[in-house]
Every structure is written in C-alpha cells, then in structure tokens.
Symmetry: C2
Subunit: 336 residues, 2 copies
C-alpha cells in the first residue's frame, strides 16, 4: 500500500471527521481550548524487539501503544482528546498488519473517546511507532510527581505484576496475564476523580516498575517512601503463580528473558508495564478513597507512607512482614 | 550515557526552564493558550538512511530535524512555541554525537525562539527521531492547502532545487548547496505576514517537491495549476551547475543515487527538501507581495496561476518558454 492510500484508507477513518484533524489534508493539526482549560501532552515511542515483538500482530501492538500513552494522561488527571501518530512502514508491513493495526487503534479510540488528528508516515528497516497524545485539564488542576507531602499515604490502583507474568510467557495458557500485558487499562477515570474530588495532587503511572516509579515521586517531591511488601496488591492469579514459581513449577519462556529462569515477588515490583496509578493521599481522605474505589469498582490499596527524607536520599524503603528492610537490587526497567 | 543522565545533562538545558516543560519531571507537558489563540501542531519523523546519514553528524541531523518541523508551522502561518522530541539511542550514539545533537537543537531554538517541553527516549537498532512541534495562530487565522481560489497567482519563496544539488553531492566543494540541504530556512516570518497582512489564506511548504506539493494544493482546493518553467526561481549557483550538468561536467555522487548519473532541471522541481513556501495570492495583491518581499529581504516569485479544473483532475501543468506542455514523469519524492 502506497503512502497516499495508507493515509486515505487506513488513517483517515480514525479522525472521525473531527475539526482538529483538518481532514489530514494539511501537515498541521489545530486545537482550540476553552479559557479555563489547559492542554496536557505526552509523547511515547515504541520500538520492535524492545517494547513489542513483530509476532504480536498489529491489533495488540496498536492497542498497547495507545493505552500506554493514555496512561500518561491518566497520571495527569486529564481527559483524553486527540492523538498524532508517527508510523514506520517496514517491508513486512502488509495490508493485513495495517488493517489489524487500525482496528487496534479504533478499539481504544472508541473506549476512551479520542481521535487521530495527524502524524507522519515513513519507511524504515525496524518497526517503531510514536504517539503524541493530547488531553485537557481545568487550569491549574493537574496531577504531578512533585506534589506528595510528608505523611501522605501511598495508594496504588488495581494489582501489580500481572503484566510481567504475561510478558514472561510463564503461563501462556492463562489469558488473564497476556490480557493485562497487551491491554493495560489506563486509569483515566481515577485520575480525573482524584482531581475533581480534591483527593490528590500527586500521581504517576507505573511504566518502569512500582518501585522505580514510586522513586520518581520521591525524587520530585523530595521525600522518602516506606512500603510494606505484604500490603502490595497481587491478583489471585498472580498469587497462585508466585506460589507455583516458589515451588519450582513455572519458568519464563520469553525470548528476552533467560529461558528457564525463575522470577520472584520482587520482579513483579520492578518490571513495570502495569499502567496502574501510584498516588499520594492525605490520611484524612483515606475513607473518601475507599468510597471512590467502590464507585469506580477498582481496588485502591494503601501500601505505605511518604516520610521526611532525613538523609536527602529520597529513597524507597521496602519492608517485609517482620518490618525488616528488604534489599532491592533492581528498582525498575532501564531503557539503556 | 544512561537515560537519566541523558535527560539531565543533554535535554533539560533545552527546556530553558519554561513552564510547559514541567522541568521534564513528569511524563506530560502542559500548554495554556490565550482565549483568542489556537494551537497548531505538526509531527515529523526522520529515519537514518532515509532522511539522513549517520555520517552527517549530530549537529546537522538535529538542525535539519527541527528546521523541517518549523517549516510545517511556517506553512500554517504559526508562531513557534515548543517542541517534544522522540529520541532513539543506538549503540554507536556516543557522547560526542549527543552533545553535537543538543548543540544543533539549541542553535535552532535560539534562532526561532522555542524550547523543548518533553518527549521520550528509547533504544533501537536504527537511528530515528520524531518531533512534535507546537505553534500558535490567532483563532480562525491559519494558512491551509484548501484555500486557493480560481485566478489566484502562484507564488514561491526563495529559490528551488539548491537542497537537491546539496543532496546529490554533485558539488561538494560549494558550501552553499550543502548549507541549503542541511540548514533549510523555515519561512516563519513570511507565513505570519501573509496572514497578518491578509495577503493569502493558502500555503504549503515544499518538502516532497515543488510540483508534488503544488499538486497537494490543487487536490485540496479542487483547482488546476499552470506553472511556467522559465519563471521558476533558481539560485545563481544552481543555474551555473545546471549548465555544467548539461555540458556533462557534473555528476551525482550520493550513495542513494545512481553514481555517475546526471540530473536535469526537472529533478530540481521534484526532489523536495526546499522548505520554501508555495502560496496563493489574489492578483489584486501582487504589488503588496512585492513590498513584502522587500521588507523580508526574501525573493517572492510568481510562477503561475490557479485555474478552474475543467476535467476535475486537479493537475499541475508545466509549460516551457514556447508555452508547450512539458511532460512530467515524477512529481516528487515518494515515501514508499
């Protein structure tokens, strides 16, 4: 498929005729805001064999691409509006891949009510995709990493580590894990409610790993964080697998991991790809968070507390059931 | 250099402390607008061995990357504000490359008064860079491809084909051509003045080739275009080289071109990378355009006219000095 056809057939329908896209006829898109609004923008790039495998197929790759970007908006408390797509066309990029890719984008667009407004198509040897995503917040109302306060409780949404188990392919028979790996749920509504109900000013989404991303808050807010391993929410499925792993029954089979290696509970905290939110809550709002969890039908779990950083190291301290400090070798995924 | 260092040392200084960047501490940037403003956004991706060679070095690659993106804003008549950068780090990407790359970005930032507000860094096998650029226009005042009217004159800024000659490396001894190839001048001030002085509502920048990009206007505006070859502005340097080529004295030596092959005048109209503006002007404004050219110290040349498209082909007709139609084999660069 040539560039013109690709844009007309595959991408133009994804604009849903929205004004900002200018029918994809110009190189530029345009966005208007109401006077009490601010635009929130994030940009993420995904590369073959780093963030996805070509075998994953267009639908899964596109879904994850957009969901991961939406998660950045969730962490800001923003309402999704639009996105732009940088699309690289490799030689093996056939019409089937393109149609599946577009179907993946559309399914996420429909779920989160956003549309494509522009981008660029290039040819390359290696597959990569770049998304710039746009959302809106009310002026001065945005969740940031540097807004945690001493004594704030550390909350986390959903469950941790499922995406990692999906990634290891340790349990390919269980669709649950691969779903969590390929189709993370950006916590858009949670981010918006935290702002609207004034329950938090500080959040981050877990892309690099619970411990690594929590440490980002610590650095930005100049605080330490104390986390209790026993409080970290794992899904029933993950708990089961962790027990099997400990019993020697499950091993990794993902090509990027040492085949046959086992993983531990700590791996689940340091792999990332959870796309859950970590957020800071004043203890007086604890009950309101529990109400919010109920109304969103989403687990919101207190896993620890932000503390004054006496040594100015802005570190994450992880404690076991005996309140002992657990040594952390790896905090999270490192890009390079 | 690890990711954290790369961001702190190389990219953070490029934010110039602007509010929108949020110190690069969050994944998201935020932009506010005044109530009578609209945001104009464009996204361009550049890939190694397609848009640049690794040998070109960080300074040239970064300069071109940003200048090409700025040219999209120029074609909209927008004032540059910010940009986001998707940066891929390959194995051969050493500190020297990174510092040169940052120096390239900074030089363009300083010239056009914009700053970095965010982005993403990834590792990859192949070098590629993605920029999302942001500018502003007054509400409802934007240059678009679909606003040419029957009878409008076709103007073009600067000179055509210099970048192509630079690209062919046919004349490496002449710095002029490689400067035009690596350091195109986005016609920001021209775009803004065309809007401010109400001299045009329709423009495009020449990235794919004069003929191909003019055809984009024809398609969007549903008109034909008649262009006279003798009116197309070539630089004195290009005129000289064209004569030498015709005399058999110059040949291409760029690895992507057939070594030893010659180019013709038509190649200069269909290669692209000029980043000059083509714009439509009502004949009554012809004199005002000449005044504008004087005040901007920039050649603005009328090369033809938009005509009613009787056959609805929306085509570009190129005529020679005898008013004969010249057959065009290739209109412009095709991405794939």
């Amino acid at each position: 498929m040539r560039e013109f056809q690709l844009i007309e057939k595959i991408f133009k329908p994804l604009t849903k005729g929205c004004d900002a896209a200018q029918c994809l006829a110009d190189d530029a898109a345009k966005i208007s805001l109401k006077k009490n609004e601010e635009l929130v923008i994030s940009k993420d790039v995904m590369v073959e064999n780093v963030h996805f495998l070509s075998d994953d197929g267009g639908f899964k790759i596109a879904s994850k691409l957009l969901r991961v970007n939406l998660s950045d908006l969730a962490a800001s408390g923003a309402t999704p509006l639009y996105y732009m797509l940088g699309f690289s066309k490799t030689k093996d990029c056939d019409e089937k891949f393109l149609r599946e890719f577009a179907r993946g984008l559309k399914s996420v667009q429909d779920e989160f009510d956003l549309c494509l407004i522009g981008g660029d198509t290039v040819r390359s040897q290696e597959k990569f995709f770049s998304v710039t995503i746009f959302g809106k917040v009310k002026k001065w109302q945005i969740l940031s990493r540097n807004q945690a306060k001493e004594g704030d409780l550390i909350f986390v949404s959903g469950t941790i580590g499922d995406a990692f188990i999906g990634f290891t392919k340790a349990c390919e028979s269980m669709k649950y894990f691969s779903q969590r790996h390929f189709f993370p749920t950006p916590r858009i509504e949670l981010g918006k409610q935290l702002l609207a109900k004034k329950l938090s000013k500080c959040a981050i989404d877990i892309s690099d790993g619970l411990l690594a991303d929590l440490r980002h808050i610590c650095h930005a807010s100049k605080l330490d964080a104390e986390v209790f391993l026993t409080k970290i929410p794992f899904s029933i499925h993950a708990q089961k697998i962790l027990k099997q792993v400990q019993d020697g029954g499950r091993v990794c089979s993902h090509p990027e991991l040492v085949s046959g290696s086992k993983f531990t509970t700590l791996d689940l905290l340091s792999h990332g790809d959870d796309y859950e939110l970590i957020f800071a809550v004043n203890p007086k709002n604890r009950k309101k968070i529990l109400h919010l969890a109920k109304s969103l039908k989403l687990d919101l779990t207190c896993i620890g507390e932000f503390k004054k950083s006496t040594q100015k190291k802005f570190e994450v301290v992880l404690r076991n059931e005996k309140n002992q400090k657990i040594k952390i070798k790896k905090f999270g995924y490192e890009h390079f």
